[in-house]
């Protein structure tokens, strides 16, 4: 029987541009890092980009927050702060950028009641139809080289 998700897989969660990776096995992580030529760091219960791990839980403006100059003070988790300032992590630049500055367009296909990304890695803020994908949770399938989404929203 055809299955969408292969043995080699890894859960990816994106909470307003904050990426969390949850490999089940070390080999999965190693394969993933090699595939995308990226480096991830361990943070409590997940792996993430080093910039995201080091983000403080408050910002006193005017202060660069992940490369973005904030305009007001705010306290919260990095995800909450990114949401407050409408920022997402730019995978290619390695810094936080305004969501509106993401100009990529993508598509989410529906196959067997699953949502599947068009690209291997989903850039938060990607324009999908009339909206943008900012939050999602899914499984990266190493065979498909795609992310099978459990949910996604703006």
């Amino acid at each position: 029987m055809f299955t969408l998700v292969s043995w080699w897989k890894m859960r990816i969660n994106c909470d307003h541009g904050y990426y969390s990776f949850f490999p089940e096995k070390r080999e999965d992580l190693a394969l993933f890092l090699e595939l995308f030529s990226i480096e991830l760091v361990f943070n409590r219960d997940h792996y993430t980009y080093s910039l995201l791990k080091d983000l403080p839980k408050y910002v006193i403006s005017p202060t660069p927050y992940g490369g973005f100059l904030t305009t007001k003070c705010f306290e919260g988790t990095p995800q909450e702060i990114m949401k407050e300032f409408d920022l997402v992590y730019d995978i290619s630049k390695g810094i936080l950028v305004p969501t509106q500055s993401i100009t990529y367009s993508g598509r989410i296909k529906t196959i067997q009641r699953n949502w599947i990304s068009e690209t291997a890695m989903i850039q938060a803020g990607t324009i999908i139809g009339t909206g943008r994908i900012v939050n999602f949770d899914g499984i990266f399938d190493f065979d498909l080289r795609k992310t099978v989404l459990r949910y996604w929203n703006e």
Partner: protein
């Protein structure tokens, strides 16, 4: 969740990590310069000044005031032994000392942290 950082308040402006926090709500009088803590909770910031120096200064003034009152009243009482209504010779000096303490307390009131 909240986050607290060391901060100062000078001229009514709260400064934290070298940056002025204009949006901070000062929970004390905020008239005098002070050091304290900036508490941040989501989009709100509260500044709590260390006010014990004010309390210490008030106690110091009271310590200064009470012996002066005792001295003044003792002088007055010492003259109340007969039909005379003349004030004690030290009254002017005693009143001046009390007035000086009052001036200090008034000044403190306008500089509460």
């Amino acid at each position: 969740m909240s986050n607290s950082r060391d901060a100062t308040c000078t001229g009514g402006i709260v400064t934290c990590e070298g940056k002025p926090v204009q949006s901070a709500i000062i929970l004390s009088e905020g008239l005098g310069n002070s050091s304290g803590v900036l508490i941040m909770q989501e989009g709100k910031q509260y500044y709590i000044a260390k006010t014990t120096p004010d309390v210490k200064e008030i106690i110091t003034h009271l310590n200064d005031l009470i012996p002066k009152l005792i001295t003044a009243f003792t002088s007055i009482a010492s003259g109340m032994t007969g039909p005379t209504t003349a004030p004690p010779p030290s009254l002017a000096t005693d009143l001046a000392a009390l007035t000086a303490v009052n001036v200090q307390l008034t000044a403190l009131k306008s500089m509460l942290k």
